[in-house]
Symmetry: C2
Subunit: 245 residues, 2 copies
Amino acid sequence: MRVLLTVSYDGTDYCGWQRQKNGISVQQKLEEALSKLYTEQVEVRGSSRTDSGVHALGQGVLAVLKDNISCDKIPRAVNTFLPKTIRVVGAREVKESFHPQYSVIDKTYTYKIQNADYPNPLLYNYSCFEHVPLNEKLMREGASYLIGEHDFKAFCSADTSAKTTVRTIYSINITREGDIITITIKGSGFLYNMVRIIVGTLIEVGKGKYLPSYIGEILNSRDRRKAGKTVIPNGLTLMEVNYNE
Amino acid sequence: MRVLLTVSYDGTDYCGWQRQKNGISVQQKLEEALSKLYTEQVEVRGSSRTDSGVHALGQGVLAVLKDNISCDKIPRAVNTFLPKTIRVVGAREVKESFHPQYSVIDKTYTYKIQNADYPNPLLYNYSCFEHVPLNEKLMREGASYLIGEHDFKAFCSADTSAKTTVRTIYSINITREGDIITITIKGSGFLYNMVRIIVGTLIEVGKGKYLPSYIGEILNSRDRRKAGKTVIPNGLTLMEVNYNE
């Protein structure tokens, strides 16, 4: 049967989701665990290629599995073979037509920024640190220019292999709780490093270095050099993937 | 001058606060950083011996330092020599009479419990996991028996070297936010593993295995075997130390 797994992981100690020759990936660990559980070689396909250091609370993963374990039993069974930093938290059967990438309707990421005088070391692996006070109101105004269907070439790493750089952002929510600013972005899909470049640019707006309206100019320029820097992966978490099936 | 440093650290990768022959301690890292900054051997003394895996957001540390760097400049200066998992977040001069242990009025610890169907791997190093639903109301009722001055022998690891097992607990607050239960304990001081044994016992109360009033019986018995298990260090954080000076 074709099973869609929901997978959470702490990306700190992995070279990212995708199998790599040099480094241990989440995909490798998950395939090893499933292969042990099913006593046969199992391969899986993820919906998002999260980078090294990027976390997930809701990565979608397709696996073709024997039907000797019912879906509600799969998470606990496979978790016994996984390291503590990776957990399968859901499993459901999907149709033959389901594709882990093409069936995606939207994805949601969060990015956490510590905005304080000194960093909290307990959040080091889960945030970026910025001691200059950030104005979230300006950041929200800047973010509004990104909502909708746009060519996001300026917010994409130069070494992209994407056929088109047009994507749709459905929403960007920016909230502050104490020293922690959380940026939640929902979109049809994201280009390579797109969320991290958007966050790096919004930080410049929050500092008052860029006017909010300058985000619109960056977008129109389609020039990566105009946007802010790519922030560290630590603060990024893939929260949810929704599918059309 | 005598300087009281406030130090935060992620205890995951350290053998605890105190210097050890086998393993890297927070104290060692801090002494190395201060010795580099002041170009002379600096030794420090902490207010709490946190165990391996235990975190701190407000450990108090006494250092005797040359007065060539003003207190407000010390944190940033020493942080440049520290790993990202340790941060000095405050520094103030204290009197000759100040003692990092005997001048303590109270200490506050928090312990985080993940109470959900599946663990969130991002919280693995910062909580313990319990999938049986816990009733915080019962836990609060149980905790009330611990408030005040008591002989906490039943809530102390057998291998203690403490002269007396009498301590005072000023308050225990138990709150839930979604899947996370946070237990905040403030006391005059804590015996070896005391907070972790209290939490292990309150979890049994939350599960309904012990009646809340049984906590009073455990206390009176002075028998470690009657209390719950010692929960893992991951969930424990030293939040604050207050001093009389």
